[in-house]
């Protein structure tokens, strides 16, 4: 059965622990850590990234770094055939989508998830699991490539809006992002703060707030 965990930040205290308790794995899970979203990011302050990696390492995910950039379907079949889980990092969603399209990663990840293997995402890695790139990410950010196809992985039928309520993203969201997605033609939006994540099992989901333990 399809099993996904879409977070704002897996490095937020208790999020990794909560996910571990849901999976209930006793042995480490061999995991590909997809670094593609950070390839165009300014990582001068990379504390969030280090927190995410620590959370994975501390919660039974035995990961290796991997990028989809420059890869082919043949590479994915060879490099990712024996893993239990894929974790997709936060970072630049546009760049991740462009490289996913160019490399043929999208059909690979769709089959990977359908086969029952785990998908975990943080921020960009959670947004891209939805049906399409939110309008506000389409070309309005510094490093956005000129995409013409905005279809994402379509693993879930909603788009996660991460980091809700954080001071860091306040001006982005209230300064224009939300008004750009104000349309009846949009997929549903599920809004989560950094303490919340979405667990998807099959076609259904639940929202967990780790501060409340449910």
């Amino acid at each position: 059965m399809r099993h996904l965990f879409l977070t704002s930040a897996i490095g937020t205290p208790k999020v990794g622990e909560s996910i571990r308790s849901k999976i209930g794995h006793q042995k480490p899970l061999k995991t590909a850590f997809i670094t593609t979203p950070i390839e165009v990011e300014d990582m001068t302050d990379d504390r969030w990234y280090r927190d995410d990696r620590t959370a994975l390492a501390n919660n039974g995910f035995d990961f290796f770094d991997y990028t989809v950039t420059g890869k082919s379907p043949k590479d994915f079949a060879q490099d990712l055939s024996s893993i239990d889980a894929i974790y997709i990092s936060g970072g630049n969603t546009n760049h991740l989508l462009k490289e996913s399209q160019q490399s043929g990663f999208i059909p690979f990840i769709q089959n990977f998830v359908s086969s029952g293997k785990l998908y975990l995402g943080t921020s960009a890695g959670s947004i891209i699991a939805g049906p399409s790139l939110p309008a506000y990410l389409r070309g309005d950010e510094d490093k956005a490539p000129s995409l013409t196809d905005f279809a994402c992985y379509n693993l879930v039928n909603f788009t996660l809006l991460p980091h809700w309520g954080s001071n860091f993203f306040k001006s982005n969201y209230l300064g224009g992002r939300i008004s750009q997605i104000y349309s009846e033609l949009m997929p549903p939006f599920v809004i989560c703060n950094d303490h919340e994540y979405v667990e998807i099992l099959g076609d259904k989901f639940k929202i967990i707030d780790v501060r409340h333990g449910k």
Binding site: F158, G165, L174, Y182, V190, C192, N193, K204, F205
Partner: protein, 213 residues
């Protein structure tokens, strides 16, 4: 099993919801009118309400009207015991919660839904089902206008719905008031267009878009 259907605009998604419910249950539906009792309406303002009533009928629901205002806890237990489905109309979630606090309807509906009463709703009824109602405040329809003990909803689900997402007539409400005041690290929110509803089975959710179903 806990079962809910939380719509933004019921008459648009009613056919899809109706197909998921047994005829025997639909024939025992109570239509809670309280959310539209907060003021007098002109007939011309109630087009959406009459469309909901017609949609319920067309989808096989047989409804009795009921207003929870001025009822005691005993009245609620006696009057609502025989129903399999509760339909909570749109209108004003703040007035609905004010009236619900007076006779402990919050606890009553929680208990009944846990026991299997199916909760179907639109707009204010879906807002009230959520964890908190304050995010939906706007001038003229706000939690501060009513005598509320708190801004909790019924808590049947652990998120708050902002209904009518994308509707041109609600744009100012959303972008000027609802979104800025909801920008907090408090609860999960779901932005729901009039074509979408949330189906709940126990603690698991699914969002259905009837244009894609």
């Amino acid at each position: 099993m806990k079962r809910l259907f939380l719509a933004s605009q019921f008459h648009i998604v009613s056919h899809n919801i109706g197909q998921k419910l047994a005829d025997s249950a639909k024939q025992n539906t109570v239509f809670i009118t309280t959310p539209i009792k907060y003021r007098e309406f002109k007939e011309s303002e109630l087009d959406w309400h009459y469309k909901n009533r017609a949609a319920l009928k067309e989808s096989g629901f047989v409804c009795d009207d009921y207003n929870i205002s001025n009822k005691s806890e005993g009245d609620l237990k006696k009057d609502l015991a025989r129903y399999d489905i509760i339909y909570m109309e749109g209108g004003n979630p703040f007035y609905l919660m004010q009236e619900s606090h007076k006779n402990n309807f919050c606890q009553y509906v929680n208990n009944r839904v846990k026991e299997g009463l199916i909760y179907v709703s639109e707009s204010a009824g879906s807002v009230a089902a959520g964890i908190d109602i304050d995010g939906n405040s706007r001038p003229g329809k706000s939690s501060s206008d009513y005598d509320l003990l708190n801004t909790h909803g019924f808590g049947l689900v652990n998120f708050a719905i902002l209904p009518h997402w994308g509707a041109e007539s609600k744009k100012t409400d959303h972008l000027t008031y609802k979104i800025p005041q909801s920008y907090n690290e408090d609860f999960p929110y779901i932005l729901l267009t009039n074509n979408q509803y949330v189906e709940v089975k126990d603690d698991w959710y699914q969002i259905v878009d009837v244009t894609k179903a």
